[in-house]
């Protein structure tokens, strides 16, 4: 491939010790959008997603002397951005109970999306995920986009595995109700 942003991970990592600034730029161009998207899917906040993704690259640059990537660079960066996201959530100290109460009132109206003409699948997926109660949404997006097991999610959010499973079941049920009509059995 000849695209500027498609240099191989080996090439980028090999460049890091000798020409760190070029290596960082290539890495940034290849993965920045991917990391922002991963974080935004969990946090639903574009501004913070961009801040946190930049933090991930800055950390790589700061630790460039001792860094060792044992998985793929993509998986390494994704893991790092999910960790950043989790730290951000912890620092924010979200009050789950309140938010769940508020959000469940909001989610009662999730069904209205389906009554509209010209409503497409993509939009209804968006609004269905956005309207999940906050904690339910977080568990779902970490599972779907963060490549985390139920046990990992439970540990990170300081809740029981049972709670993770319950939230996941709730999320799948609500999403099925909201977008199910668009999906054919396959």
């Amino acid at each position: 491939m000849t695209f500027e942003n498609e240099h191989s991970d080996e090439y980028i990592l090999g460049l890091l010790p000798s020409n760190d600034s070029l290596a960082m730029e290539l890495m940034f161009r290849k993965y920045y959008a991917y990391l922002c998207q991963t974080i935004v899917r969990v946090l639903n906040d574009e501004h913070t997603a961009e801040d946190l993704a930049q933090e991930v690259f800055f950390d790589v640059w700061r630790k460039r002397a001792e860094i060792s990537v044992t998985t793929s660079l993509r998986a390494y960066l994704r893991r790092a951005s999910v960790n950043k996201t989790l730290n951000f959530i912890r620092d924010r100290k979200i009050k789950w109970d309140d938010e769940d109460k508020l959000a469940s009132a909001a989610s009662d109206t999730a069904g209205i999306a389906l009554d509209l003409e010209g409503q497409d699948l993509e939009r209804s997926i968006h609004s269905a995920i956005d309207l999940l109660p906050e904690r339910c949404r977080l568990v779902f997006t970490l599972s779907r986009f963060g490549e985390m097991s139920h046990l990992q999610i439970a540990n990170e959010l300081n809740i029981s595995v049972k709670t993770v499973e319950n939230q996941m079941t709730k999320a799948l049920k609500m999403l099925k109700a909201a977008i199910g009509p668009f999906l054919r059995d396959s």
Binding site: A33, T48, R92, A113, L121, L172, G180
Partner: protein, 313 residues
């Protein structure tokens, strides 16, 4: 599916052994498009990263005698503390969010960082960052609030509610979005406001004096002129109706007195009323209505009144 996606899916499938495989698969594929339309500003991000890299000077390698090492470590620690402090401050400023909420019997005045002001109605909550971003001023509202927004052409002011987004450059207006009442409403006092509903593609432009009311149960939106001041009644404490229908007057009473006015009448109730309502004078308001419509009956219940009969044939 690409190889990578296939691996992710296998992982997800293993994580949810109790779910039906076909349901999981359909949701896996469908949700893959979530937020795919979002593309960050790469050039701006790269510039920000590079400037941080430049500020962070590489350490020079200097051989130290053991006596100097302790001194260096102390100096290093002090620097690290300062750096951490500075860093935390920076992060705190750019991403810390404020949530202000009001109890059931109180309203609150807020001054925002950009000079705009907000009056938050009872039982409402407003979330906003400590400092707005350079591109936009974003807030989240649950409940009702009146905004007076300072004009900034380069930074639109965007309020997210359950049912839609309200976007302005600078103007004064009222937004009502309580989770438990069936209405989402935006009313514009001065300037121009655009409203994007979450459930369809349309953006609705509102001018001075205009309101948009979305009935959340039927999902029908209605645009109109609010001459009586119903939308602002919670702040002004008064509504004055000029030739308005009975249902419009009852809605005004609901807003002003915080009660439910349940109109049971199926027949047209279209004769027009001219009257003024004042805060705290609900009994008088009902008396005034009874005087001009002797056939209208008001029966009190625990949330307000059930209204039956017709005003005129």
């Amino acid at each position: 599916m690409t190889h990578k996606e296939n691996k992710d899916w296998q992982h997800w499938h293993e994580q949810h052994p109790h779910e039906s495989a076909s349901l999981l698969k359909r949701l896996w594929e469908a949700t893959g498009s979530y937020r795919k339309d979002y593309h960050p500003n790469e050039a701006a991000g790269l510039a920000a990263l590079k400037s941080r890299m430049n500020q962070h000077q590489p350490a020079k390698v200097v051989r130290l005698s053991p006596s100097k090492i302790a001194l260096r470590i102390a100096a290093g620690l002090a620097l690290l503390l300062i750096a951490t402090f500075f860093f935390k401050n920076q992060i705190g400023e750019s991403s810390s969010a404020t949530a202000v909420s009001t109890p059931a019997n109180e309203t609150k005045e807020l001054a925002l960082e950009d000079g705009s002001s907000v009056t938050l109605n009872q039982s409402s909550q407003l979330d906003y960052p400590g400092a707005f971003s350079k591109k936009e001023r974003k807030l989240k509202l649950q409940g009702e609030a009146h905004f007076k927004v300072n004009r900034d052409e380069n930074r639109p002011f965007i309020i997210e509610t359950e049912a839609g987004f309200v976007k302005v450059l600078g103007t004064s207006f009222n937004v009502r979005s309580y989770p438990n009442d069936g209405v989402f409403e935006v009313f514009v006092e001065t300037g121009k406001v655009s409203v994007a509903l979450k459930t369809n593609d349309k953006t609705i432009e509102l001018g001075a004096g205009e309101f948009l009311r979305l009935d959340k149960s039927t999902n029908k939106a209605q645009k109109g002129l609010d001459k009586s001041g119903t939308s602002n009644a919670w702040r002004t404490g008064a509504i004055s109706f000029r030739e308005q229908t009975i249902p419009a007057v009852l809605t005004g009473m609901e807003r002003l007195y915080g009660v439910k006015m349940d109109l049971k009448n199926e027949q047209p109730n279209n004769c027009l009323q001219t009257l003024s309502l004042e805060k705290g004078k609900m009994e008088e308001a009902i008396e005034a209505l009874k005087t001009s419509c002797p056939k209208l009956k008001f029966a009190k219940n625990d949330v307000g009144y059930v209204v039956t009969g017709v005003c005129c044939q």
